[in-house]
Amino acid sequence: MSDESTGDREQNDGQRFDRLPATPAERTVEGRVSREAVVDYFDDRFGIPPETFDDHTFWEKGAGKIWIYGGEAPTPLEIEAIGMTCLRTRQEHWKPTTDFVQRFGTHATDCVIELDREEARAFATGEDQEIPRWDGDWGYLIGAHEIGVGPEGRPGRDGDSAELRSANRSSGQSTREDAVERGNLEPIGIGLYVHGELRSMVPKGRQREL
């Protein structure tokens, strides 16, 4: 199957899950990104620390469709789904999914645009809107809004008393709950910011009138 242009590399099989190679040097499938490239992208673009993904593996199924998974599986694997789709590669600009940023976007420090109540609502319904105040990078941003309580309201386990939670926090035992350092900001989804406009990328099936 190999030819001059692809060397001895295989073509992507869109019907199965293949685990991403650790680094570009270990790549065996033409055009496939590496775990390193994916983790670096989330770090460079959104400031999500690479260790956020220490317990997760990344996979490709479908051309450029990258999945994040926390369970056990051999590669290759032919089943319906593992974990969630997290990123689209094999296009000019990589694009994270709304479900991914809702799950991991609380760790982001860059390219997060804070939306007020009405903007958040419009974003969730899929509307594009003029938001001239953004002076950061153009491209894909995480739309987020203030909601509920801040990190102090995130207990270790349900049923823990407030005193116990506070003790856990001061002793540094509570890790995941304290990862949110942006107050009450909660990611809503992915938007594309260009020319003063934030275009909601929230997929149709996830859009809601709130």
Binding site: D55, G71, E72, A81, V149, G153, D158, E186, R206
Partner: protein, 302 residues
């Protein structure tokens, strides 16, 4: 309600039971702790001005006072998932632990599978299977919305399920939330009894027996299998568990749940069941103002 008359001899305060079955059920939701703590979820509901009541038996189960529970920020963010109160019981009885391998044999649309993932802090492997491809898309949608990254989805018949595709050959726990005649969902779905017949019960009971046997076989010695249905028919409940006791290495074990319930039956229509079936629970709609459910907990033996 005619088909339910057959349960008059086994249900205490049968008139209260019938009256409850005629009352519609309110909206319930489970807090998805993969996305947010109970406290943060409650604060978000309060921000939105939504009234709720926390279930006594489980702080993660809420009764919501809203006509459109899907159009809330808590739902949009995946902090909550609409799920009937008693439907949250089987995963709690299963008691999965972080890092384990767990099989949900009949998982679509995913309420219980994602609850299992949340109980495991989304650490470990939850294999969510369903034989119906159409329902798999709903399962996948819910798993992604709720952020369950520990979940793998397969589309197969659970009765002859193969683990060869995975890197392990047995599960620590399995949930068999079996397809059933759904009599217990009458409050949610008034059409639930429209196609009721004893033939339908007999037919689905055969499938249930096959799935439960395979679940016991696929679970390690000392592991746990929970069998549940949302129906009252003993043919689909105690008789199915009795079949597993007869054919596989397992026993019925006790568990505690803070909900009113009745014990499993040891006899129905002249058929005797093992006395251990008293350890199973029957939840009737009038006991906690919920839907109906049957839950049995099995331990896999040598």
């Amino acid at each position: 309600m005619e088909p339910l008359e057959r349960y008059r001899p086994i249900i205490d305060d049968f008139d209260a039971f019938l009256a409850a079955c005629e009352r519609p059920l309110g909206n319930a939701a489970r807090v998805n702790t993969i996305k947010a703590s109970v406290e943060r979820t409650l604060a978000t509901l309060e921000d939105e001005g939504l009234a709720y009541e926390q279930a006594d038996w489980n702080p993660r189960v809420l009764r919501l006072e809203t006509g459109s529970p899907g159009s809330t920020w808590t739902s949009f963010h995946g902090f909550t998932h609409g799920q009937e109160e008693v439907s949250a019981v089987p995963p709690v009885v299963l008691d999965p632990q972080p890092g384990e391998r767990v099989w949900d044999c009949c998982a679509a649309p995913g309420g219980k599978a994602t609850q299992i993932a949340a109980l495991m802090d989304d650490e470990g492997t939850v294999v969510a299977n369903d034989n119906n491809l159409g329902r798999i898309s709903a399962l996948r949608f819910n798993a992604e919305r709720l952020g369950a990254t520990s979940l793998a989805v397969t589309n197969d018949d659970a009765r002859n399920y193969s683990l060869r595709r995975f890197s392990f050959d047995e599960f620590d726990r399995a949930l068999v939330d079996a397809p059933c005649t759904c009599e217990g969902t009458i409050r949610k779905n008034p059409d639930a009894l429209d196609n009721w017949s004893e033939g339908a019960i007999a037919s689905v009971a055969g499938v249930q027996k096959g799935i439960l046997r395979r679940a016991v076989q696929a679970t390690r010695e000392g592991g746990t299998v929970v069998y549940s249905t949302c129906t009252f028919a003993p043919e689909e409940n105690e008789a199915v568990v009795q079949h597993a006791l007869d054919e596989e290495d397992c026993r019925v074990v006790d568990f505690d749940i803070g909900l009113e319930h009745s014990p499993g039956l040891t006899e129905w229509n002249g058929e005797e069941f093992d006395s251990s079936l008293e350890r199973a629970i029957r939840i009737y709609p009038h006991q906690n103002d919920t839907g109906g459910f049957f839950v049995a907990k099995l331990e896999v033996t040598a």
